[in-house]
Assembly symmetry: C2
Homo-oligomer: 392 residues x 2
């Protein structure tokens, strides 16, 4: 299951029978990933092999799953924090409209899960996102997670360990989904996000300006040429950047140019990607705290910036944690959100009809990483690793 | 003449006779410095020794100069750029109100000059600032300069050379006020301003977060403690910072803590200040282009951050330009703005009654650094060093 980034925003894809199953309407799992550079929804009907619960009998075994994918806008950060709930509401409404068109009745949603950027810091109350899911989808069960958690679930497929997610920002989470929750970085483009697209782009633009200014060190003429091609004359750059609300995305938009210059051998660009990889390794290693198995992964589109970055990441991580295994990412944050939605149907801690036969441990809410519907966001249990205190 | 930062916002200080001169009302020079952390106005009556012009006879020789100082708010950057003109209008109105109260008639302003932050990049049209000066002060002659120029005039007292001004941001200008105009850095906290207060503060907060996250390198526990004392619990920092319009100032507000930690021996803080000094030296050296005498200075409150910064600046500059002299700054940007106002009364290129006996060369407008009233902002003469092209 891979994400198709250039999917038609309203495409509904039916892999087998386009009609509803004879035994009743199909039941959907809905997963949403809300990021700094866009949002995505994927919905799939519950496959025959999924464990049903008492309230929702399985669809007929002969039915192949339907699958729907939609794209939406990115979040905006304003004086009240981010508008994740609005983005989720719009995507869900589009899903309902598209699916109702196919089936002549609103879709029946068994579970819906959202992974959202900035959730750990900039959304004061995940309840607004739960409300958006319930009012648009009438979902029985809902989960709202930080994108660091859905990235973790996607990359390690539900296994315990540490995952660094590298997009416009960069954040790592070390967790077993139960007792250990250790976050590192994810502090945004001014305070951290070291090695992320915004970090790489900002350093690339600084190298371009160093060449423009004629500084003694750090300049890159290839990056200056690339930045002028992308942003126009140098004196216009500040007003283009500082008057926009999405500065981190603007900075990150230069990262492909840094990757291209590095691929062409520009020393300054290679150096920037190498430092980015080292930063990401330190972020990842710091999240792999005692109590977790020595398992780690990195995920995110920025890893495609080239071997300068990924090589430095692997070397530095091996130096910091020679005992640990750095495995390839098994899937995307959107895959992780779908995994989370599936876990909701296998038994939760929300008092719903948990399947007694489910071998998986029930999901446990843990603020600010995971909140579950039908209950207020739970405070962090006292036995878990505090995220606000100092590391030991 | 030094700036007193904690002056009463409406204090009018009369150094000698509080009444108008018997030969007529006193004539004022008004100077304004608009910065990222506040704005200041100083006005002084034209001293007896100043060269008068035909339209404005000198005050009686026996009159000692009056002096008035006011403080105002800092600029805000919005979708339309900075609001320098509004800040200037408010300060001038306060000056007129205070001075009218003392003299029972509006002050007669011979010349007014403004140095403003971001003028080179974020104010599309300095004419709005000229209009603010004329409508509030009825000034005969006005000048609107980038703060880099007033810093230069203040630091070198009108001599040719290069000056780096270090406040919330950092910018250097190499100029002889006639043919050579070379700017380096000043690109704002996301693209540059290397070594400035916002740069130091951001790096200090990153060191604090590195300690908080338990990263392998770069952490500082003293800075973590200082940042928690200043900003509260770590998880609240992003929402405090990213929802504010004055992010650079918030970052810069941590610089005194970095300076204090460095003074107490914190290695990470010493390293940050040392790198800041090196960056400033490279910015300054890059502005000292051929055609200028080998004379340079650094100015701004951030230089008080300690010997780690100033020592690194001096050493790195000496290594880059062993032929050049790095002199102590002779005055502040506000002094430079007053110098500029005085130059306006000594003869300008605006078609006014220039004193034929003035030994000083007439002021020449040069966008975006200096624009003069009574004429549209002049395009850069083709014989000067372009600021938008590549350095050679």
């Amino acid at each position: 299951m891979t994400w198709t980034p250039d999917v038609d925003p309203a495409r509904t894809e039916s892999r087998a029978h386009p009609l509803a199953a004879p035994s009743g309407p199909p039941r959907w799992l809905v997963a949403i990933d809300v990021g700094g550079s866009g949002s995505r929804l994927v919905a799939t009907t519950v496959p025959s092999g999924a464990r049903p619960d008492a309230a929702h009998p399985p669809v007929a075994p002969g039915d192949a799953p339907h699958r729907t994918e939609l794209t939406g806008r990115s979040v905006a950060i304003g004086p009240d924090g981010s508008d994740v709930a609005d983005v989720v509401r719009d995507l869900c409404a589009s899903f309902v409209a598209a699916t109702t068109g196919s089936h002549d009745a609103p879709p029946v949603v068994a579970a819906a899960a959202v992974g959202a950027t900035g959730l750990a810091t900039l959304v004061p109350d995940p309840a607004t996102v739960h409300t958006a899911l319930r009012t648009t989808l009438a979902a029985d069960r809902t989960a709202v997670a930080a994108d660091a958690l859905t990235a973790h679930l996607g990359a390690l497929g539900g296994r315990a360990g540490a995952v660094v997610a590298v997009g416009t920002g960069a954040i790592a989470l070390g967790t077993d989904l139960r007792r250990v929750w250790r976050r590192t970085d994810g502090w945004g483009h001014l305070l951290g996000d070291l090695g992320s697209a915004s970090w790489i782009g900002a350093h690339g633009l600084r190298a371009a300006l160093a060449a423009h200014d004629g500084r003694a060190t750090g300049g890159s003429r290839p990056l200056l040429a690339a930045a002028q091609a992308r942003f126009g004359p140098v004196p216009t750059w500040p007003v283009q950047l500082y008057t926009r609300p999405d500065r981190a995305q603007v900075l990150g938009s230069f990262t492909p140019d840094v990757a291209a210059a590095a691929a062409a051998g520009d020393p300054a660009s290679v150096q920037i990607l190498t430092e980015a990889g080292r930063h990401l390794a330190e972020t990842l290693a710091a999240a792999l705290v005692p109590g977790l198995p020595p398992l780690a992964a990195a995920t995110g589109g920025v890893l495609a910036a080239g071997p300068s970055l990924t090589g430095a990441l692997a070397r530095r991580f091996a130096a910091l944690r020679p005992d640990a295994e750095l495995v390839p990412s098994a899937g995307t944050p959107l895959d992780g959100a779908l995994h989370l939605a599936r876990l909701l149907t296998e038994g939760t801690a929300t008092g719903g009809a948990a399947a007694s036969t489910a071998p998986a441990a029930p999901l446990v809410a843990h603020a600010p990483w995971l909140s579950l519907g039908d209950e207020p966001p739970a405070p962090a249990p006292s036995t878990t690793t505090p995220i606000t205190g100092d590391p030991t």
